[in-house]
Symmetry: C2
Subunit: 417 residues, 2 copies
């Protein structure tokens, strides 16, 4: 069969299954999730040996260490994936939730209820845990899923999908609810992006390149996730000890993730008292500092930040620093260069805190806290399918609700218009 037909057949099965899955009881879904979690742990050996093949291929392909680490599975990580499924089972069911009802003057009763989106396409890169998370969250929210993982983790992903589908279908989940595209050619992604007839949404999870490809080429609605050029602005009134702790945390605690800081903005009135120690602390953590002209005078090792630096998501131990004359200059800089993800102000000034939260355009705007908290678990959603950096449908950390739509149920007695 042609690749196009293969993919379309999978999408068709997912669409067919979606009709049944949408009306499945929460008990049936939760039971399946628990069975699937057990299956992952029972068949650990199968996953580990598939993962060994991926790792061996990765070494041949000369993947970097961070990528190999993300790819690597061990018993602890597999147990964590199973635990994730159990947690998803314990979350409240979003489907069927009433979102209000109203009676119209003509007697029509209109009820707004939460329903699944239908079929969700997920295109992702290396990490095999995304396979498990996505399958669990889609199932819990009553959606079927068409997955397309990256070539690096293909063997691990296939082993995981085999185990989870067998367990799910055994537990009564409609066949076709979990579909996986095994072809790792770029062509398969392009075909998936045109499946408007079957897919209700595509969520890309991965680097900036993948996300750009999906946004630019998909005719299916997309939820853009993940790119984060996050700033921390140290106001002139900031508690400088708090400021340096937060800035350090935002940069070094996990530089590869999207909610970590890429640019530090510092009010010029406190630059002399704040920056020298801050730069020393960053350097001690092996952070490469790039800066504006004013920043450069604090340390001769600082490279001049270029226009490109201000809009770059380093995802690494690199930080650009800019000294600003006013809070307005800080806000303007942020609104020009940010990706609308997470931004923070460190301040003791009430008016500046309010101004910053009002005027900065981002999913999450912090006062006196690290941007690293933008995360479904930290927000208390119990799960996360990604962090939306667009404004349509979902913004910020996406939990189960982000995987739902609504439907109006109208009851009448013969009303005509």
């Amino acid at each position: 069969m042609e690749l196009k037909d293969q993919i379309e057949e999978k999408a068709q099965r997912a669409t067919f299954a979606a009709k049944k899955l949408a009306t499945l009881s929460v008990n049936s879904k939760n039971y399946a999730l628990l069975v699937m979690a057990d299956a992952l742990e029972e068949h650990m050996e199968k996953i580990l040996s598939a993962n060994d093949q991926d790792l061996a291929n990765g070494v041949v392909k000369k993947l970097g260490k961070p990528l190999l680490d993300r790819l690597m599975l061990d018993t602890i990580r597999i147990k964590a994936m199973a635990e994730g499924l159990r947690q998803t089972a314990s979350l409240p069911d979003p489907i069927g939730e009433g979102l209000g009802s109203f009676c119209r003057p003509n007697g029509l009763e209109i009820q707004k209820v939460r329903v699944p989106l239908g079929v969700i396409g997920i295109i992702y890169e290396a990490r095999p845990n995304v396979t498990v998370d996505a399958i669990g969250l889609c199932l819990k929210s009553g959606n079927t899923v068409l997955l397309r993982g990256g070539s690096e983790a293909i063997k691990s992903n296939m082993a995981i999908v085999d185990i989870l589908t067998a367990a799910a279908y055994d537990a009564g989940i409609p066949v076709g609810s979990i579909e996986f595209i095994e072809n790792t050619e770029h062509e398969a992604v392009n075909m998936m992006l045109k499946l408007n007839k079957y897919l209700d949404v595509i969520i890309p999870r991965g680097g900036a390149g993948l996300i750009r490809t999906v946004v630019e080429n998909s005719t299916v609605p997309v939820i853009e996730t993940g790119t984060g050029v996050c700033h921390t602005y140290i106001d002139e009134s900031a508690d400088l000890k708090m400021a340096s702790e937060i800035a350090l945390n935002a940069k070094v605690s996990r530089p590869a993730v999207c909610n970590s800081m890429e640019t530090l903005l510092v009010h010029e009135k406190i630059a002399d008292s704040f920056l020298p120690e801050m730069i020393t602390a960053l350097t001690a953590e092996r952070v490469e500092v790039r800066g504006c002209e004013k920043t450069m005078k604090y340390n001769e090792s600082i490279i001049r930040a270029t226009e490109e630096d201000w809009s770059t998501e380093y995802g690494d131990l690199i930080l650009s620093i800019k000294v600003v004359a006013t809070i307005d200059e800080a806000i303007e800089h942020i609104n020009q260069y940010n990706t609308k993800h997470s931004e923070a102000i460190i301040t003791k000034d009430y008016n500046n805190a309010r101004k910053f939260q009002k005027q900065v355009d981002a999913a999450a705007v912090y006062v006196n806290a690290s941007t690293r908290f933008t995360d479904g678990f930290e927000f208390g959603f119990g799960a996360e399918i990604g962090i939306s950096t667009q404004k349509l449908h979902a913004r910020g950390p996406m939990g189960l609700e982000a995987l739902t739509s609504i439907k109006y149920l109208i009851c009448g007695d013969g009303q005509i218009r």
Copy 2:
């Protein structure tokens, strides 16, 4: 200046103005809307003479009568447009509404608030009233707007935009909040569809061709609106008098709009007692009936419905009829051919009513009422920017809330992760 630069400059102005408009008080927005309504009525002559030019051009271009009617403005229609702006002013302000707040174990306080989307692109066809509606709803919801109307109404649209922008900017609305692309070449639409850097969403309003073009070519997120292949299913237990009144209303009250019926499904057990009279009533209203084999035997004038008929939005006095053996066959037919807009069942059976509402996949699912009620005003939203037929972001009639996003405001005391 090149067309591309011209359009980009307009989008840039709208993006710049959006930052200011987003934080404008509701009083300022309402005041402007009232001033704009007055201005429309004061400058009626200017609009009417521009509209005369469009009508004259329309006659030369040999536009059909329905199109010319939609294009035509008179004092009554202009007053209605002004009244629409006043109604929009009287609606509650969606912006700033709190959508819940929660305190995390680490002391972080997270507040979810409603914010504008930012810049909304609207691409539409003939009717000049869309210009006024869109400007009013975008302004009220704190969004700036980039409009691109069709060539047929270009003079009317330009006159309206001139009057409304002058009044709005006089009333203190940030300059750039209302931008209109005067170029009517197709090229301008294509350029608009790639303005990801500036536009947060594009909403197409018009025929199926326009909507397809936008969905297939836009890299900006799109809200798909308007196509409606709506069904009415007459269950075996239906009150046949009610059934025929509803079916007739759904087909003939306004056949050109998206919530009117295109296919009638009839349970075989009541076909003999229902269809002959129904077909007579439809024919009396000059409806052309196409039908399945079973339907054809009730009247020799009935044309055989083809596969294409079942998925066609006639938008005209044409109806396809199918006799089905079970409610399940009806539901299956609907889920195969509908555009997920509005569907109705006429029944006295409690279980069938519930089954239909649960299993039919559409924005609005009716029991014992006409599909013609799917409309922002009929639903009591006080306004309508269109009817979404997708599941992402908004579904069904879209009022002011559909033009908003959310933002998380997080207050801390030095929390790090």
